[in-house]
């Protein structure tokens, strides 16, 4: 369990990090919190020639807000996001998701950008980001671009990020003031802090008791976190506080593609996805009613 040899570069700015990436010819890898990367190096699942440490890049830390969104810089520690009042009040779904992310020790180092860059299909942060229609900001030596989460997530641990691009921030749309919005995050995992076997992130808006908009993302049940448009559409116009109609829940099984592994069978995952979706959506509906 010792990493294979690599060279190490400590970047001091985004420009420096992207030029290291440009020179790296795809053999360079970015070290943020290291909670996934260093174990991958130790297990020799990753054998880069160059490790670019971005922990010294001040401009990659911090949480900013605009009228419409919350911008979390890539190297922001997970513990910072968990304790952020901005996150809690303006992107409450991410705040709820953060409680399921790793442990005390790993959240102190682990970053928001690192989790989104790695994009494990069962990780909570990319899942919440997808439910929120977030955008990922990528930069290389030539400039930057923003990619919608749905386009960014390509496959298991595969994203639209090019090898010379650095993930610099995640842009999360904030809840709209004056619109009744409720969120809920549920997951089943083997141990607290583990990646989810199945997780569901839901954000719904209501007019009185009636759902006007629904976003529900599923994790652990496909190659990437997924949304099921048919399911979301079926929720609109409903009350939902007494549970999601079966006709809507029946649409979930066809919208996901779970695998079987040592943790759970595909069938089990399908059933849990249905149960958690029902639980998350109805909990959000009840919260919306009680003004919570």
């Amino acid at each position: 369990m010792k990493p294979a040899p690599f060279n190490y570069a400590l970047a001091k700015s985004i420009d420096e990090a992207t030029s290291y990436l440009a020179d790296g010819n795809g053999e360079a890898i970015v070290l943020a919190g290291g909670q996934t990367l260093v174990p991958m190096l130790s297990m020799r699942l990753a054998r880069p020639e160059l490790v670019i440490d971005i922990n010294g890049v001040d401009e990659l830390f911090g949480i900013e807000e605009t009228d419409a969104s919350v911008i979390i810089k890539a190297c922001t520690r997970q513990v910072t996001a968990l304790n952020s009042e901005i996150v809690k009040s303006r992107v409450p779904l991410l705040h709820k998701a953060m409680h399921f992310v790793g442990h005390f020790q790993t959240r102190n180092r682990g970053t928001i950008g690192g989790s989104v860059a790695h994009s494990d299909p069962a990780a909570e942060i990319p899942l919440a980001a997808l439910a929120l229609d977030s955008e990922v900001e990528l930069r290389n030596v030539n400039g930057s671009r923003r990619v919608a989460m749905a386009d960014y997530l390509v496959g298991p641990l595969m994203t639209a990020r090019e090898p010379d691009e650095l993930l610099v921030a995640v842009h999360l749309p904030a809840i709209v003031p004056g619109v009744t919005t409720a969120t809920s995050f549920h997951e089943v995992s083997e141990r607290h802090g583990d990646f989810a076997v199945v997780a569901v992130a839901a954000q719904l808006t209501f007019d009185g008791a009636i759902c006007t908009k629904a976003a529900v993302a599923f994790g652990g049940v496909d190659h990437t976190p997924v949304r099921i448009p048919e399911f979301e559409t079926r929720l609109i116009g409903q009350t939902l506080a007494y549970g999601v109609p079966d006709a809507a829940l029946d649409l979930i099984a066809d919208g996901i593609n779970p695998g079987s592994d040592q943790h759970a069978s595909a069938n089990y995952r399908r059933r849990v996805a249905r149960t958690l979706a029902n639980r998350a959506v109805s909990e959000a509906a009840v919260d919306a009613r009680s003004g919570a």
């Binding site: 690599f6 190490y8 442990h103 790993t106």
Partner: protein
């Protein structure tokens, strides 16, 4: 093939200077370069918590950090929990008195996590304690006596302040 990098790290208040290869983890640096073998290597891939240390004020897993990343930083290991004369500190004594150890392999990590908890919460609830040691795996005890030891330490530390 790779160059060594010169680092200096404050370990339990002592400045340690050495050269390391980039692939050396902080865990191996502590054990093999600094001679601080109290920090245990369990899984070496970030899941067991045996290697926990306080890094720049926060508990982290030393197997998931590179030694080069500790350059200019301060690290507190389990050795830093004992009294100046080398006798066990209050937290360690509580672990002994509450019979919290069996094989003891996980205990350095448990102690570091418990120390970090008590440093910011003098009267932790049962849930707080479970949350704090949730990332530390113990294969022997079943955790009950570890939790009792942390409660005992919290009580003793509060009493000492009164």
């Amino acid at each position: 093939m790779t160059d060594t990098i010169h680092i200096h790290v404050s370990i339990n208040g002592n400045e340690v200077t050495d050269s390391v290869i980039p692939r050396m983890t902080l865990l191996d640096f502590l054990r093999y370069k600094a001679g601080m073998t109290g920090t245990h290597a369990g899984c070496e891939h970030g899941v067991c918590g045996a290697c926990s240390v306080i890094f720049d004020g926060d508990p982290v897993r030393s197997c998931s950090l590179l030694a080069v990343q500790a350059n200019g930083k301060s690290v507190m290991t389990v050795e830093g929990l004992s009294n100046a004369d080398g006798t066990p500190g209050t937290l360690q004594e509580a672990f002994q008195d509450a019979h919290a150890m069996q094989c003891g392999y996980c205990i350095p990590g448990m102690l570091v996590s418990a120390h970090a908890l008590l440093a910011r919460n003098a009267a932790p609830s049962l849930e707080d304690i479970k949350e704090a040691i949730g990332g530390n795996i113990c294969r022997c005890t079943g955790y009950v006596q570890i939790i009792e030891a942390i409660q005992l330490a919290a009580t003793r530390l509060r009493e000492a302040l009164e």
